[in-house]
Symmetry: C2
Subunit: 461 residues, 2 copies
């Protein structure tokens, strides 16, 4: 820690922050390009989440949302290019979105904006390019080109059930109308090609299969491209669990490499049943940390297992193997500093949540390119992974409650991530500690021995 | 730090290491593809350096070197495909290189091998693919396709003066022969295309301009692609300097944010002249850290300046603003631990060299895509950057001597990086500390007031 002139200790600089290295004046508009049902909104939403997770301020400007303020439930005819009135209103929506976006940049509210729309003609793209040039904003066009019928159909199916355009409509009618809308776009659609060789672009073909990258200009752009390169947009789920209750949990100590307790063993034995209940007959792959308690917890799962160093618990440095009460006694200033800014606080000789996010980035990249993964890991690490998928704020994520003996299923969708929680109903101490508290790990008493399921926070039968 | 059973302290896990997250059984052969003079060897060499810098064991297998054992100075006719004997010998060289490579993998010596050769036909590539498949090694083909005449000519010029094939020959004759050799390859050259859609490949078009990425499979591959995406291979140089002597240097303290001393000021004033001597009339951009001593040192340079948090000195945590003698007194165990493994040692509440390398990665990426950069930074940071360009071993890099008041010019070339050092001949304390020493910063006495120049360690006039 660096001393400031008056002798007080200053917090260490946040050196490893991905955003910190960008020249501050760089502002990027990521312009989505593609026919409907090509996963554009999902990609846009993911890029924003990813950047925010890395502490880069980012926001999506969805032209559809602007258009819905005047035309909430348009029929396919609205999108017919021979419909002059529809055309005029769609252009007005684009204009409003771009104007708001530039205002957002000028107010210093962020570094990366995503303009989410079909932007399907060269003329429209040139218009955006000119508007951004004039506002001193870099553009990067991101086209999702996908001719995989199956993938497009699965996206159509998803859109018809989740798009605000079809709210409350008969799903079959909605799907039919949506297919018609796509045909209207197809008539005028122009893919990014050599005519636009002067533009910075990234063309994703059958997402995850082939990527064409043109004229990438700086670090933040290349960072976004790197992320896009690793994406696939097929619908799938991710399963998360903490290790079963450990002997350190029982004695209230943090860190260490303890065995799981008797009740932790019970959870390990029950886990295959809970997983089956949630994932059916899917063949999962289990990722654990290198610490005993995660490996022991996954012992009975009938799947391939991989141990990752990057999934090890937040390193609590000199505080490893102490209780919170001991930490408060021995390092009172640090204990308070951690409460004041838990995300940035780095244990002496250890790590901060920010450090954990950085080392988790490869895990996130691998997760993005994988299917059917169950991660068994630790409280702080699970919070960081959860925060990535659910878009939880940095200030809040270190304080989230992630109970022991609970399986979490996350299903990222175009308009948000669905969450299901399966409580094993096997009692365990609570390791959650509120701000300012010493977290006496309390025994919650005996459980019911069945599985409780919650979907998006609401209990089900 | 985690306690091991017998009560001793174990060194913290090296969690943030890029290689640590790869499933250990992954082995990748990066197969270069491209006509001669397309920068293949330079790319291969850079990828190896980059991976090693990130602690991933990597090695180049250059088919030309195997061929030179039987045919040290071949004429262009040797490379004519109608020359059956030449063809046979070239295939034998490829065979020998691939066999050695697989042996290298099987001995567990590394994770990434680069097969450096033209590999200019689909048949040859399929043969390599089959050999690697059989050995359970993933392949990733990297084609450098470049029709930029100027760039090719500049590569030809470089090769004729540095390639072992033309050792001791008349440069003009060599260039002519080399152009003929290229024409022989052009006759049979097949670029990577849709016939090879099943292969994992990365096609670099006019390096840095357009990149096509096909079927990238895992993290390490995507990491290499990310690096390739950021490369350009135009010949250029990078200038490095430490800040001028600081007041902390004078009092032997580490860290802090002190002003430069009177002699530091002299260096700052002389720096523009030294830079001009080395860079001529080139318009440079100056990158400094956010600390005063680097900003003050670059004050008189007539160029644009950018401050990067990532260029700040290694954070010495609780030892900040102490002298080495004080550190030894207050933290004797740490002082020794640091000497034992300086690269991995993380100051309490601070950073290790390994941490610095990780936060420098974005700087390296930006450096790779930039031209004409002068970096004014700090001892540890400069060591890490220098180690990247010169391929210095991790164990050695933290001990390298990088004197104050010296400008370093690095010029990466296809067969190694050329180094020039310009000593300002302005006296300064030595901040270099040998293993086990307390580094009494000594005053070296008055300097001569002229500029001393060394090229690759040898003094010039």
């Amino acid at each position: 820690m660096r001393k400031v002139p008056d002798g007080q200790m200053m917090r260490p600089n946040r050196k490893t922050n991905g955003s910190g290295i960008q020249a501050p004046e760089t502002r990027i508009c990521v312009v989505m390009v593609g026919l409907p049902a090509r996963g554009k909104s999902l990609i846009a939403q993911k890029v924003v989440r990813y950047l925010r997770w890395l502490s880069v301020d980012a926001k999506t400007f969805n032209v559809g949302q602007y258009r819905r303020t005047t035309t909430p439930n348009p029929s396919a005819e609205f999108f017919d290019t021979s419909n002059a009135e529809g055309e005029r209103m769609r252009k007005a929506a684009a204009e409003a979105a771009v104007t708001d976006m530039i205002k957002w940049f000028d107010n210093g509210e962020g570094l990366v904006a995503i303009l989410d729309a079909t932007n399907s003609t060269k003329a429209r793209r040139r218009w955006i390019q000119d508007r951004c040039d004039a506002a001193n904003v870099q553009t990067m066009f991101v086209e999702s080109k996908c001719d995989d019928e199956e993938l497009v159909m699965s996206n159509i199916k998803e859109v018809k059930t989740t798009s605000p355009d079809y709210l409350g409509q008969d799903p079959e009618v909605a799907a039919q109308d949506f297919r018609k809308r796509i045909r209207n776009y197809e008539k005028v659609y122009e893919t990014l090609d050599e005519d636009e060789a002067d533009l910075t672009y990234c063309k994703l073909i059958d997402v995850g299969h082939q990527v064409i990258i043109n004229k990438i200009q700086d670090y933040l752009q290349s960072r976004v491209v790197y992320y896009l390169m690793n994406l696939h947009i097929k619908p799938r789920s991710i399963w998360l669990s903490r290790h079963g209750e450990s002997e350190y949990n029982l004695s209230g100590k943090i860190g260490g490499d303890a065995n799981i307790s008797e009740r932790g063993q019970m959870y390990a034995k029950k886990l295959p049943e809970i997983v089956k209940q949630s994932a059916g007959d899917l063949e999962l792959t289990v990722w654990t940390s290198t610490l005993k308690r995660t490996i022991q917890t996954s012992k009975y799962l009938p799947f391939e297992k991989l141990s990752w160093k990057a999934l090890d618990e937040l390193d609590s440095g000199v505080c490893d193997s102490l209780t919170y009460a001991e930490i408060e006694e021995r390092y009172p200033a640090d204990f308070k500093a951690r409460d004041d800014d838990k995300y940035n606080y780095r244990y002496l000789g250890g790590e901060s949540y920010r450090d954990v996010v950085i080392r988790l980035e490869p895990i996130i990249m691998e997760l993005e390119r994988s299917e059917n993964i169950l991660i068994v890991t630790h409280q702080a690490v699970l919070r960081c992974i959860y925060a990535y998928f659910m878009g939880v704020d940095q200030a809040k994520s270190p304080w989230m409650e992630v109970p022991l003996h609970t399986l979490i299923k996350l299903s990222p969708r175009a308009y948000g991530t669905q969450e299901e929680r399966y409580s094993a109903k096997i009692p365990a101490v609570s390791t959650w500690r509120g701000k300012g508290s010493k977290a006496q790990h309390e025994d919650p008493g005996p459980g019911q021995g069945t599985v409780d399921i919650e979907v998006n926070g609401k209990p089900t039968k």
